[in-house]
């Protein structure tokens, strides 16, 4: 069994600290870690910390300010709708050049209370996957001869039901690196759309920083606690990656984790007619 890869779990105050320091960002970016969870306390049942930032906003900043660090944004579909979430996930997939993914949770303690059920989280994960796959990247042809930019008849409605009925398609094509990695917190109730389970029984075990990491899993997520500074986390990660952990080379998240591409969806209802070469005026 190969040595495990290392992932980091940062909480709200760490996100504020990391994004306000160019030096910390540079160290984070240089770390050959698998990925960093942006706001791990939003999915693991923790109470809210004193400070936080929206996970997708942090992802956008990291995509713009760094070149190799990989990350999972965190979302619980308690207040947000998966159509909106899928747009952010797919957009980040493009803007980060495939370095991003999504960790879905059930309940987010920062949000003012609202509906939070495992069924909603499961259906949200499925919806994000289906929506990202609704528009195949290969349909973008940019053919100046015929005036056809996209073979838009290859774009399909998703027509999903359940907690969130959605017609689709998504407003953006699938990233060139493929549908984003979707992770789930804990193995209970994980839907089929999930690529990776973090925590109990999953491929990625969770270890609190300072404790001895468990053995026998594909990866270990080092969870930072309130008393740790980002410097503490990075220093610990640098040491572990120079020791027993397996550094992962730069590149898209799915490839770095050795995850297979998700199966394509069964053919849906075409969203648009076959485009005709357009006659000029």
């Amino acid at each position: 069994m190969p040595a495990p890869y290392l992932a980091l779990g940062l909480t709200g105050p760490h996100l504020v600290e990391l994004t306000s320091s160019a030096a910390l960002l540079a160290r984070w970016d240089a770390l050959p870690a698998a990925f960093t969870v942006l706001g791990v306390e939003r999915v693991d049942g923790s109470p809210p910390a004193a400070r936080t930032l929206d996970s997708s906003a942090v992802g956008a900043a990291l995509a713009g300010q760094t070149t190799r660090g990989r990350f999972l944004i965190v979302a619980s579909p308690q207040r947000d709708h998966p159509y909106n979430l899928a747009r952010r996930v797919a957009s980040l997939g493009h803007l980060s050049r495939g370095r991003s993914g999504l960790l879905v949770g059930v309940r987010d303690a920062y949000a003012a209370p609202d509906r939070a059920t495992a069924a909603r989280a499961r259906d949200a994960a499925r919806a994000v996957r289906a929506l990202e796959q609704s528009w195949p990247h290969e349909s973008i042809i940019g053919d100046r001869e015929t005036g056809i930019l996209v073979r838009s008849n290859e774009i399909v409605h998703v027509d999903i039901g359940g907690e969130f009925p959605i017609a689709g398609p998504l407003t953006v094509p699938e990233p060139p690196t493929g549908a984003s990695v979707i992770a789930w917190s804990g193995s209970a109730d994980a839907p089929d759309a999930v690529d990776l389970v973090i925590g109990e029984g999953g491929a990625v075990a969770v270890a609190v920083l300072g404790e001895r990491p468990p053995r026998g899993t594909a990866g270990v997520l080092l969870r930072a606690e309130a008393e740790h500074s980002v410097d503490d986390v990075l220093t610990a990660a640098e040491r572990l990656l120079a020791g027993d952990f397996r550094p992962l080379a730069a590149g898209p998240l799915r490839a770095a984790l050795g995850l297979a591409a998700p199966p394509p969806r069964a053919n849906g209802r075409a969203a648009f007619p076959v485009p005709q070469p357009h006659p000029s005026l």
């Binding site: 400070r51 930032l53 956008a60 300010q65 940019g142 930019l149 017609a167 407003t171 953006v172």
Partner: protein
Amino acid sequence: MTDRRTGHVILGINALVLGYLPAAWQSPLLGKDSFVDPAYWETIGRTAERGTLDVVFLADAPVLGDPAHDANPIRLEPTVTWGHVAAATQRIGLVATASTTFNDPFELAERLLSWDHLSGGRAGWNIVTTRGADAARNFGLPDVPLRDDRYDRAAEFVDVVRALWDSAATGADIRHHGDLFQLEGRLRVPPSRQGRPVLLQAGGSPKGRELAGRVAEGVFAAELTKDKAIEHYRLVKRLARGNGRSPDDVKILPGLLLSLGSTEEEARRRNDELHDAGPAAYSVQWLSQSIGYDASKLELDEPFPEEVLAAPADPQTFQGSMGFRESIVAQIRRTNPTVREYLRQTRSTGSGHAGFVGTPEQLADHIEDWFHSGAIDGFNLQPDVLADGLAVIADELVPILRRRGLYRHEYQTDTLRGHFRAAAATPDSA
């Protein structure tokens, strides 16, 4: 009478993805998927910043239109896109459009304030209510709610968002128990460097303008004629006064569609070529959608029949924008063109926004004229093709405006709110 105003105009860029004309993607400067390429978006931000422009702007709707011949309907999510661009820039303001009909106020407030913090206080939110059944079907609804109901929700939504933003500074929970939202809690995001993200409103229906007068700090307007623009400018400033605000607290920024060239002839040729390279059915489709009448049924060589120009049967269910419709009808009444003439004319005057084809010098004249006439505080410029059109604005138009004392030489402020505050005051005539 024009009264000479002092101070600076506001210059924004409405990106419209690759540019306002459908054929923009055919520019040799672009790759086939530039519309999702991070390097493309970073270049937009950096070029706008090179010109010390005030703001870049992204329209939005949570629905995909047919992208077969046109990148305009393709929409990356705006807060994420501008969040990415904020990381590649230092001073330019960034406005993301987001719907009050299809978002949650807590989630959106947290996301916008986070992006504002990460950008150093450069974020703005363009408040829209979204139209069309196709968008509704992405959220489990057969159609959007009626226009008035959408604006009622928008009004309460914005109140909740503002209260939540303030809670980030005070640390105190809000307790909102309104008609539509019941919500207790607070944001734990660092407070905004600019006080709050800047609020913009787009839409010209009476309820839309009411919302603008009450809360918006900028209005993205659609104006075809200077007279109508002056009328609407005064109306919104008056509504702001009526809400106990200073008229300077709401900046009026109509869109302006642009094709620029080093001579007028060159600009015309560029505009014609770009139109010819785009799909012909577009102008008929666009007109039908905008006026709520199937324009393909009209006699091409007759003037518009009166019943088509009269108000739409039901403003609650009319799918288009009332603001756009009003502006288009006023222009048709003024010049009484045949349908064919009008469709040809809209090839250069565009989609409910006024259009401009000419040199940077002539554009500076146009901006100066509308500014001194009290029709605008600035323009939201919409180049035909951003990939080269934006550079002409930054490197040619801006220096001309500077020489005329209408624009700053360097950034003097570093938040979006700061840029708006530093702009010219409202003229006495308004």
